[in-house]
């Protein structure tokens, strides 16, 4: 039987999948009507890019064989592919899902490209189209950048390991600003190394920013998802680097221009201001002329004032002010009061004077009176003689005869006397 059915193709659904450590795969292929036990030994299973799962539809090719210990038929699988989709596509899908879940593709892991890439590291084949294209672009654009190439296999056995190692080596070396990891176009199998987990992890861990540049525009590899930036082709990657420098140069030029413009404008402003100010200063004679004119004008006004116009006007003003003040009833009252006071005082005064004068007169007269008073005369030693009995005052001796009786009045007291003899005024005796 084994000879009759050498190699058969079987289609079915996976169930009861077992993947022991041995690396062998054990499962049952089922369809509606039948089931077949399968085994894929490690040697063959190792080459599988994808992982079979329960429920997956598979197309397998293998040899029928009898497992004697159990007496069962089994299919020893040599080749396995998924139903409805390529094995590679499935492997791709599975790895993408797994790494995405781990977060390897997250935006937050993506580093920005350096603004000034001076040294570029390139991981690619030394002979392939990629490096050729990259160097072409740099040449064409006269870009002054340094390129360091770490040559690797980009397909086939061991390519993934070499690529991953190159990325790690560049990180150890350190003196590059950005990495380009890629290769020229090819089939999915050709590009497969860039879908390997090892490469993805190396790119993820790279401290140096990585641009992936694998195949053509339509090709997307796992490396593209995990890189910091994807370029559709290696040429495009080179353009990105060059653009960075070109943009930077333009930015610098713009800033320099603004710098110079800024200062130029500032100086123009200052110059303008200075000019405007200088205009005011421009003609000192004009300024002096103005001043001279002012002086003349003031001089004239002074003269005018001196000529008395002002004086007269001022007088008139004072007059008016005065009469205004005078007609002030309060002032009138005050003045009335004053006059009254004056009059009263005046009349008092004249009254006093009058009284004083009379008093004087009286005093004078009484003084005179006193002197003239006979009593005073008597005090002086004179005596008043009166002829008795008539009592007439004797002034002349002729009035007397010998033997008359006279009364003598002295200052104090008096006496009754008789005339003994009389004499005349000139002293002659009769």
């Amino acid at each position: 039987m084994e000879e009759n059915f050498e190699h058969v193709w079987v289609e079915g659904e996976v169930s009861n999948l077992a993947t022991p450590i041995s690396g062998h795969l054990y499962f049952t292929l089922k369809d509606a009507g039948a089931q077949l036990r399968c085994v894929m030994f490690r040697a063959s299973a190792r080459a599988l890019k994808f992982r079979p799962k329960d429920g997956m539809g598979l197309i397998v090719r293998g040899r029928l064989s009898l497992f004697e210990p159990r007496g069962e038929y089994q299919l020893i699988i040599e080749y396995l592919e998924p139903q409805g989709i390529g094995a590679l596509q499935l492997a791709f899908a599975q790895l993408k899902e797994r790494l995405a879940k781990e977060g390897l593709f997250d935006e937050k892991h993506k580093k920005p490209l350096p603004r000034l890439p001076q040294r570029i590291g390139v991981v690619t084949s030394a002979t392939g189209a990629a490096i050729h294209d990259i160097l072409n672009v740099l040449d064409r654009r006269f870009a002054n950048v340094e390129v360091l190439i770490c040559p690797v296999k980009v397909q086939g056995e061991g390519a993934a390991r070499e690529i991953a190692q190159a990325v790690r080596d560049f990180n150890r070396y350190g003196h590059v600003d950005v990495l380009i990891v890629g290769r020229g176009g090819g089939s999915m199998e050709d590009l497969w190394a860039f879908n390997e987990e090892e490469v993805a992890r190396a790119i993820h861990h790279s401290r140096i920013p990585v641009i992936s540049a694998v195949g053509h525009e339509v090709d997307f590899t796992i490396a593209d998802f995990v890189a910091d930036l994807r370029a559709p082709t290696p040429s495009a990657a080179a353009e990105l680097v060059v653009k960075s420098k070109v943009e930077l140069g333009a930015e610098l030029d713009a800033l320099s221009h603004r710098l110079r413009q800024g200062v130029r404008r500032l100086l123009a402003d200052c110059r303008g201001k200075a000019y405007a100010l200088s205009l005011a200063l421009k003609d000192p004679t004009m300024l002096l002329g103005h001043l001279a004119q002012r002086i003349d004008d003031l001089g004239e006004r002074l003269d005018y004032a001196r000529r008395g116009e002002f004086k007269r006007k001022r007088e008139r003003l004072a007059l008016l002010r005065n009469s205004l003040r005078l007609s002030n009833p309060a002032v009138l009252v005050e003045r009335g009061r004053e006059r009254l006071l004056t009059l009263v005082t005046g009349s008092e005064h004249s009254l006093h004077l009058s009284i004083e004068r009379h008093r004087e007169k009286v005093a004078m007269n009484s003084g005179k009176l006193q002197v003239l008073s006979p009593l005073e005369t008597l005090a002086r030693g004179y005596a008043i003689a009166s002829l008795l009995p008539q009592g007439t005052t004797v002034r002349d001796s002729a009035q007397l005869a010998e033997g008359d009786k006279i009364d003598l009045k002295f200052h104090r007291g008096g006496a009754l006397c008789r005339v003994e003899r009389k004499h005349l005024a000139d002293g002659q005796e009769t």
Binding site: C150, L252, R258, G262
Partner: protein
Amino acid sequence: MAAEKFETALKKLEEVVKKLEGGELSLEDSLKAFEEGVRHAAFCSAKLNEAEKRVELLLKQKDGTFAREEFRPEET
């Protein structure tokens, strides 16, 4: 490393330009700022033109160190 200094200088240049355009500075300060700006611009320009055009291979030595060798695309 060199890239960092370039970034800083470029940023400083931008700041100076903004200050100058702001018009708030005195004439003296403006001129000082302008000088500073010119210095930064010169530095940046030098940095941009610094890198030489060179293509080399990075070769890992047995002892783990790295060597560089000129890359000749025609030969390989």
